[in-house]
């Protein structure tokens, strides 16, 4: 089976990026948009074909899906055994990610044709989108961890560029810097992890790194550092990179601010694709985690679980609809991390792994839909704030319906997609750790509550006075909404277990009604509470907030995590480290340089009189020099 054409899946967006980036300003902006969308359509179709061929034509060999290297070229030969390749690797999760990324990206491309219409920098927006899509696709098909790292940084850059798209706005600039610096800080851990791992294993290649039986792990597991084996350190550091990109607590602070970017960007990068790169990374390295560092997996599970609860609590208090969605994203990614953390490896035990990927898939659909729906709402009322909205169901029927579908999906109401994936996660948690499991029950209720708070707040409630009547968005925007709504409604029926599992062997997950029914009831309870509180304006809400008092305030201010960061960086790091270093740089380093310059300038000032411009001075010097040379030659050297 020939898969070499898959190289074009990432390359087409790259070519589009180069073209629209270099020549886009020569044409009408809409041309760039259309070229970008067409290019992505090609990638999308190729991805679908690849998925079909991979799962149904190549299919199982020996009871498992095989890993296919579709293309590979050596990019840097560092030493005999250490080399960096670039290539395309196809296995169940990368193929699934190809489909997810190209689907969401295509929807966002189409959607942006309407949403971004008339914006200054339209073609710039599209070239950045293409750059991002290229980087993300390159990331998921990476054949080795270093290629992954390269594209990992590229998605970071594209995210930075897109968050700062409205660069005239100081808040956007600050947000883009924050996102870049926080993720860069995490990536430092990732890089150190990669270096540690490859130093001991002498390879970057996933083929060897993800095979626990591989002999490359002998040294790294037997070496220990500060009470932990080096491989545990390495895998924890790699997880740190993943936690940064996926905005896990305590590195989550950049994601809510990243909502400064255009809404389609939030949908694509900060909800559906880039932020799940961390989950994908952990899934990719999963065989190593499970075989050598179960301790690291426990950390991952608890970080994921805590983040999901923490973010869900904050989401209940926010008023900026995009921020609610951002915290909801955090919470859902926490779910995925948790699922990976509680997963086993073989057969039924690998349920968590499968559930994580399943949730990643469904979440991409409904979260992209939520963001695009929010974008449509924002487009209509020109505000991000819930309390300036209300009663919009009459004005935005399509948006309203699709948004409702997405809310039901994320709350885990059957038969929508979220129900199935979330159920698998809960089952996996139940089998592993009861405390985590009960936390997730709580999160399920909170999720349903804050999503329907949002839903009722936007589409029901009291209708405020609008400056001009809101109207439904154009077809380019509603079409992706409908498409994604269909995805959110029906992708849950995909028998994911027969495609994706930790050991590449399909299995049939069972339905656990004893877990599913309570979770649905909890979700319904959350919806009901939201219905009571927010369907109409209700004084209970204000009273409730009063009762909660300072607790509400703490949650509303996001547990003051940003303030803690500011305190640590501004007060402690700046004063104790940066200021002395800056002083040293300004006075000692610069002083030396300035001193040298001053001495030179002083000397030249003194001796420049020698250049008198007087011909005869020069002639005198010349003749005397010649005579001196002659004297030297005649009387010293002979």
């Amino acid at each position: 089976m020939n898969y070499s054409y898959t190289i074009w899946i990432p390359l087409v967006p790259l070519l589009v990026f180069l073209f629209t980036g270099l020549a886009g300003s020569r044409f009408k902006p809409m041309i760039s948009g259309l070229i970008g969308t067409t290019g992505l359509l090609v990638s999308f179709l190729l991805s679908l074909v690849t998925a079909w061929k991979f799962f149904f034509v190549s299919g199982l060999s020996g009871g498992a899906y095989s890993t296919i290297i579709a293309a590979r070229t050596t990019w840097l030969q560092l030493t005999d055994y250490l080399k960096i390749d670039l290539g395309v690797m196809l296995d169940p999760i990368s193929v699934m990610m190809l489909v997810v990324i190209t689907t969401v990206s295509l929807m966002v491309h189409i959607y942006s044709l309407g949403y971004m219409k008339g914006e200054r920098g339209f073609e710039r927006f599209y070239s950045f989108l293409s750059l991002f899509t290229f980087s993300m696709l390159g990331l998921v098909v990476a054949t080795n961890i270093f290629q992954m790292y390269i594209f990992w940084e590229l998605v970071g850059v594209s995210s930075y560029l897109l968050i700062g798209f409205y660069y005239e706005r100081p808040s956007a600039v600050a947000a883009s810097k924050k996102a870049f610096i926080v993720t860069r800080f995490a990536d430092l851990g990732f890089l150190i992890g990669i270096l540690l791992l490859s130093f001991y294993t002498k390879t970057f290649d996933f083929a060897e790194l993800t095979n626990p039986q591989s002999p490359v792990f002998t040294t790294i597991t037997s070496t220990s550092f500060m009470g932990l084996s080096v491989i545990t350190w390495a895998m924890l550091l790699i997880f740190m990179g993943g936690a940064g990109k996926s905005a896990m607590f305590p590195l989550h602070i950049w994601l809510p601010d990243a909502m400064e970017g255009p809404t389609p960007v939030s949908a694509l990068i900060h909800a559906a694709t880039m932020v799940v790169a961390g989950v994908y990374l952990v899934a990719r390295m999963f065989p190593v985690y499970i075989a050598y560092t179960p301790g690291a997996l426990t950390v991952i599970a608890w970080v994921g679980g805590f983040t999901s609860l923490f973010a869900a609590a904050i989401a209940c208090t926010q008023f900026d609809i995009k921020r609610v969605l951002a915290y909801s994203t955090l919470s859902q990614i926490g779910y995925m991390m948790l699922a990976l953390g509680v997963s086993g490896y073989e057969g039924e035990h690998g349920l968590g792994y499968m559930a994580s990927m399943f949730h990643l898939f469904t979440h991409a659909m409904f979260k992209a839909l939520l963001f695009l729906g929010a974008g449509s709402v924002i487009h209509a009322v020109h505000s991000n704030f819930m309390n300036e909205m209300g009663g919009l169901r009459k004005y935005l029927p399509v948006t309203h319906l699709t948004f409702l579908v997405a809310c039901l999906a994320i709350s885990g109401i059957p038969p929508f997609a979220g129900f199935f994936s979330k159920d698998e996660i809960l089952v996996a948690a139940w089998q592993h750790n009861r405390l985590l499991f009960s936390m997730e029950y709580l999160v399920a209720g909170l999720t349903a509550f804050y999503m329907f708070r949002l839903y009722f707040g936007i589409f029901w409630n009291k209708t405020p006075h609008y400056h001009h009547t809101p109207h439904e968005s154009p077809l380019t925007m509603t079409l992706p909404l409908v498409f994604l709504a269909l995805g959110s409604a029906f992708t849950g029926f995909i028998p994911f277990g027969s495609f994706i599992s930790a050991d590449h062997r399909p299995f049939e997950p069972e339905m656990h009604l004893n877990i599913a029914i309570p979770s649905v009831l909890i979700a319904l309870a959350g919806i009901f509470i939201a219905f009571i509180l927010y369907r109409k304006e209700n004084p209970v809400v204000a009273r409730f907030i009063n009762i909660l008092g300072s607790f509400h305030k703490v949650v509303y201010n996001k547990f003051y995590i940003d303030e803690v960061y500011l305190f640590v960086t501004k007060r402690i790091l700046f004063n104790l480290v940066s200021r002395p270093v800056a002083w040293f740089d300004r006075h000692i380093v610069d002083g030396t340089m300035n001193g040298i310059a001053r001495v030179i300038s002083f000397t030249s000032e003194k001796i420049k009189g020698l250049q008198s411009g007087q011909l005869q001075h020069y002639a005198l010097a010349f003749v005397s020099g010649a005579i001196i040379l002659v004297l030297i030659v005649l009387y010293n050297l002979s």
Binding site: Q616, L620, V623, S624, I627, V630, L631, L634
Partner: protein, 168 residues
């Protein structure tokens, strides 16, 4: 002391005397005339060495051409009665020092070096030989430098005209 020897010392003394006057005289026109004398005496040396043609060229070109050119330019740029100021002592002194040291070094080197006069039969230097060699293209032929120098002269002539032309 033969006539040759006497003439040599006479010419040499003339050359050095007038050369010195030419570089020290404070009246520019006089300096030019002293230069003329030094150049004429040089052509006398050429006669002594039996290079009559070269001596003739020296007289015609240097004495007749260049010095006249210099005198013209003096007349264009100076009043004849103009007398230079004395140059500053430092300048005189440094120039004198450099020149004296240089002369001393060179003279000593020359005195040290054992020149071996050639015993070969001197070649005839009548016009015929000179003309043939100057136009010759074989061994001992100078046609190429001759042509080059002619082009150089042409270029210098055009250049001089262009440079000196009044711009309007």
């Amino acid at each position: 002391m033969g006539a040759n020897v006497f003439m040599f010392y006479l010419f040499s003394a003339t050359i050095l005397f007038f050369a010195l006057l030419a570089v020290t005289s404070r009246r520019i026109l006089r300096a030019a005339v002293f230069l003329l004398f030094a150049l004429v005496a040089t052509s006398g040396l050429y006669f002594l060495l039996q290079y009559q043609f070269l001596a003739g060229v020296q007289l015609a070109l240097y004495a007749g051409g260049i010095v006249v050119l210099i005198i013209f330019s003096i007349l264009l740029t100076h009043h004849i009665s103009h007398k230079f100021e004395r140059p500053p002592v430092m300048k005189l002194f440094s120039g004198l020092l450099v020149a004296a040291i240089g002369a001393a070094v060179t003279v000593f080197s020359i005195a040290d070096y054992p020149f071996k006069a050639s015993a070969a039969l001197p070649i005839d230097t009548d016009m015929r030989v000179i003309g043939l060699q100057l136009m010759g293209t074989g061994k001992n032929g100078y046609a190429l430098p001759f042509e080059v120098i002619s082009i150089l002269l042409l270029a210098a002539m055009i250049g001089a005209i262009v440079i000196a032309k009044k711009k309007n």
